[in-house]
């Protein structure tokens, strides 16, 4: 990653705007008087239908300083759009990101100018959540988002052939003796935990995470999504609203299923079934959703003494404030369908030019999902590889990233190849993903599957009490079916030092030569439907780059310099 010769930092030099310490809380080393006003901000407009999606707009009043890290978007979603609908209480949010799955795009504007916009918000959040610890996901995010990230170690308490609790070591000869389970996909008796009265595995979610029906709206799970969790701009900055033009936040919502659409015709939705293997679920209808009431923002305004406010205003009038922040751009690509003859398999390569000339790029994430809407994709969308639903996954939908057979990749940035050998080993790819933040904390079997080797993914629960691998029957655990191979995100860290955050020069300035991603997978035309893997793969690139918000007497502007 050499400095590009045609675009260098020197081309973009300008005087840094100095932020007052009130707007950089980490730097504040003096006592100030401040009063905190916590407000509920209702939207100025809101409309939503399950079949069409919707938009909600908020206008933030120009007062005080917005404590952006604590701003939260709150809403309740219900099953059914009219009285009497949704009475089966059979819906919950997608399991990895919960209510964030409702958000398709969120935009922050000031004076009509876009400050920050995050597309594919739910997918981006899926990636970022995996950098949080398992404890944080389970104990904090699951509560805020109504997601289901809990983890338990399943240890068979009553091995096959035993009528009674026969001792734990007797399960040693069973594949499923010890496995990892998501307790909101699989409930069963285990070591030190015998909640079931009979030897059955059930698959329901917690009652408090299930969407209420239309008649019971207002009593269901409410999501409180920190804007900082979905918009990088809000992570650290404190916005002096008192000196800015009108700030607007626009939230575009994903649509839900139409009321008459059967589950087996749905390929993407923000909601999932409570029990994915319930009898007859595939033909069920009535999965339409709406908001119980308009969403609202919970905001903290900081009101400083008048002399402190005057300092902020004087700073704006006399110069400029610069907020360095991370913006994320989304672009897409396709790894094409395999066209080889029947009975063959082979590599399918694709090159993806991502551009970004002149930008200071920090990280790039690549999400991979099979195109289940194409003819071939539709034909193989319910395939399982070693039991894993990597095409159409009714508990994750497309808010996942599928592991693919024979995957290898490399990057070319500023005309230099990043890795001298293509990355073709799962553990190494995972390590490069770790580089982007502290650790990419997904479960074993979710990332490196050794080309869907059954032994590897067996670490995720997939047996009944007999301990024998079973990827079909509803009486067995289903954690592996819905989570195996579904968190395989490719990552590249172009920051020099993660600790330096958004400091200028910490990222990599891109030359006129576009960033290139070279990607190869192995696809197969087996001629047998259940093992086909010919379809195209949709690649979604999230490119994080540094931008600066500059506030001066002329207004607000955003720049890449």
């Amino acid at each position: 990653m050499a400095s590009p010769s045609d675009v260098s930092n020197q081309d973009y030099q300008e005087l840094e705007g100095q932020l007052p310490d009130l707007l950089t809380p980490d730097a504040r080393q003096r006592a100030v008087n401040v009063s905190v006003e916590t407000n509920i901000l209702e939207p100025v407009s809101h409309q939503y239908t399950s079949s069409g999606g919707g938009v909600t707009r908020f206008v933030l009043p120009a007062k005080g300083v917005l404590n952006a890290p604590s701003a939260a978007l709150c809403f309740e979603v219900i099953n059914g759009e009219a009285a009497g609908e949704g009475v089966d209480s059979n819906l919950a949010f997608q399991i990895s990101v919960g209510g964030v799955a409702m958000i398709r795009r969120i935009t922050v504007r000031c004076g009509g100018q876009i400050l920050s916009r995050v597309d594919e918000c739910a997918l981006y959040n899926m990636i970022k959540n995996q950098f949080k610890s398992q404890q944080y996901r389970e104990n904090v995010l699951d509560v805020r988002h109504s997601s289901c990230n809990a983890l338990s170690t399943k240890i068979l308490p009553n091995p096959a052939g035993s009528a009674a609790q026969a001792g734990f070591t007797l399960g040693k000869g069973l594949v499923g003796y010890h496995q990892l389970a998501n307790p909101e996909l699989d409930q069963l008796n285990s070591y030190g935990s015998i909640p079931m009265t009979a030897g059955n595995v059930t698959h329901g979610k917690q009652r408090n995470k299930l969407l209420r029906n239309f008649n019971l709206r207002g009593t269901g799970p409410e999501c409180a999504i920190r804007l900082a969790d979905i918009i990088p701009f809000f992570v650290r900055n404190q916005l002096p609203l008192l000196g800015m033009a009108q700030v607007e936040i626009e939230c575009e919502w994903h649509r839900g299923p139409a009321a008459a659409t059967a589950l087996n015709a749905i390929n993407q939705a923000p909601v999932v079934l409570d029990n994915p293997v319930a009898g007859g679920a595939g033909a069920t209808t009535g999965h339409n959703i709406t908001f119980a009431q308009p969403p609202f923002l919970s905001l903290d305004y900081l009101h400083y003494d008048e002399d402190e406010q005057a300092k902020i205003m004087a700073g704006i009038q006399n110069g400029s404030y610069r907020f360095n922040f991370t913006e994320v751009v989304v672009t897409k690509g396709i790894n094409p369908e395999y066209t080889g003859a029947g009975g063959t398999d082979g590599p399918v390569e694709s090159n993806h030019l991502l551009g970004m000339m002149g930008k200071e790029v920090k990280k790039i994430y690549v999400v991979k999902n099979w195109d289940v809407n194409s003819t071939q994709g539709a034909a193989e969308k319910d395939n399982q590889y070693a039991g894993c639903f990597t095409h159409r996954n009714t508990q994750l939908w497309d808010t996942k990233s599928a592991a693919i057979h024979g995957e290898k990749y490399n990057w070319i940035v500023n005309n230099e190849r990043i890795y001298n050998m293509d990355v073709d080993q799962g553990a190494l790819a995972h390590h490069y993903m770790n580089h982007c933040e502290d650790n990419f904390q997904v479960l074993p079997g979710q990332y490196d599957t050794l080309d869907f080797n059954q032994d590897v993914v067996n670490v995720l629960a997939n047996t009944d009490y007999d301990g024998i691998v079973d990827n079909t029957n509803n009486t067995s655990c289903i954690t592996q079916r819905f989570m195996g191979g579904c968190a395989n995100v490719v990552g590249l860290n172009l920051d020099k030092y993660n600790e330096m955050g958004n400091a200028r020069g910490n990222g990599t300035r891109i030359s006129s030569a576009p960033i290139e991603f070279r990607y190869t997978v192995n696809k197969a035309n087996t001629g047998a439907g259940a093992t086909e893997r010919r379809a195209a793969i949709n690649l979604t690139f999230f490119i994080e780059h540094r931008r600066s918000l500059i506030i001066n007497s002329l207004g607000v502007s955003v720049s890449d310099i």
């Binding site: 990653m1 983890l151 190494l428 074993p444 080797n453 032994d455 172009l494």
Partner: protein
Amino acid sequence: MPPPGMNLSQVRKQYVQLNPVNAVSNGQFSSKSGIPLIKFDISASQAPMFLQGDELRINGRITTNTSAGAPLTNTADNFVDNFCGRFANCIDTVTISSKRLNQVIERVNNYWRIVPSVVSSIHGNEDINTVLAHEGDHFETNFLGRHSLVAQDAGAKGKSFSSKLYCGVLNSGQMMDLSVNGLGGLVIEILLKPDVSVVFGDDASTNNVTYFLSNLTLTCPLYHMDSGAAPAQQAFNFNSLSTVFQTINSSTSVVALTPGLKQVSSIFCNFMNTAEIGNQSRNSARLGNIGEVRALRYSINGALYPLSYRLLTNEEDNNLTTTHHTYRARTMIDRNYLEAVNINRFSETGRTCLAWNKWNAGVVNRSQTQNNNGLEQGTAAGIGILYDSFGTGEDLSQTVFSFELEASGDDLDGTAAKSQGVYMCFLNKNQIVMSAQGISVVR
């Protein structure tokens, strides 16, 4: 973090991937079917070039077979220690040398005994099941690790790993200057263990299970800087891991030695029955149960230090069984052990596997040879003492360090031999001094 005084615009980051310099034709490394020494060579540069040691990874694939070359069965008794992980279980010694004057910077012996203590003391189950499972194939329990241990692809190769090296010099938090004015490049040598002490279990022993490593690479980010972009590095501090093996044979045992180290931050020890060392039926990386401890004291030159009192337990009073079971009640011993491994005060301990009710290490009532075959609930026992989390450490270069472990009656280990192997690890502050005349390591 970047070296102080550095200008970001003058830094260039490079991801390097290196193959071993001593690769053989079949690309395999092992004690049986390849060569047992893996050697990586990171060359020097003229301009300043810094290595971020904690991001250095050894990558590759581990394949385990029976002596006849057949894959292992996923229901048989074949295991690797869950805390040690698949990769660290294969390693006997790691040596890191500067290419400048061929100076050894750090040599970590008994690597496979250190890693289980470190992993179980500073990580909880959630970390192990998420992060470490992808790195060195560490798992919460032996049975969870068995799934990937037996996995092989169509080419009869095992699952990949990408593991850090648990060496002090690579995890100091400082970047190392590898230029000709600094360390002058690095040589990393990894000596592998014999088959008999890697994959264990009754079936592993019956089938003489072997292993080999392949597709090995070393990856790390390097930071190239323009000359003058950063001040020349003149000194570099790190904690080295020095190990000593001892045995204890009676219920009141004293281990005494002069470590010959000047700045010891902490000392920790773990135990296992000596009769199990080299026995493929038994877990050679097991953090054994020690026994029914009555008291433990640490001394320097015969005087109680740094604790001026003995650590007493009431395990004997709580023992509910008659045959070699320990009712575990050694909170203060655990506390000091965690401080020693973390090199930090107990209040700073955030995560650990030393729970009371978890399969891997939290069983209260356990036998003396608990889980030596891999089938039972595990243990993560150890002892340790922290001398100094802030300053220059304790000078043990001329003095005698000792600890006395008093166990009840005949319950040192529950077997007739009563002999326990003690793996002692000294964490010692070191300084590398670099000058135009060369480099030296001050220990």
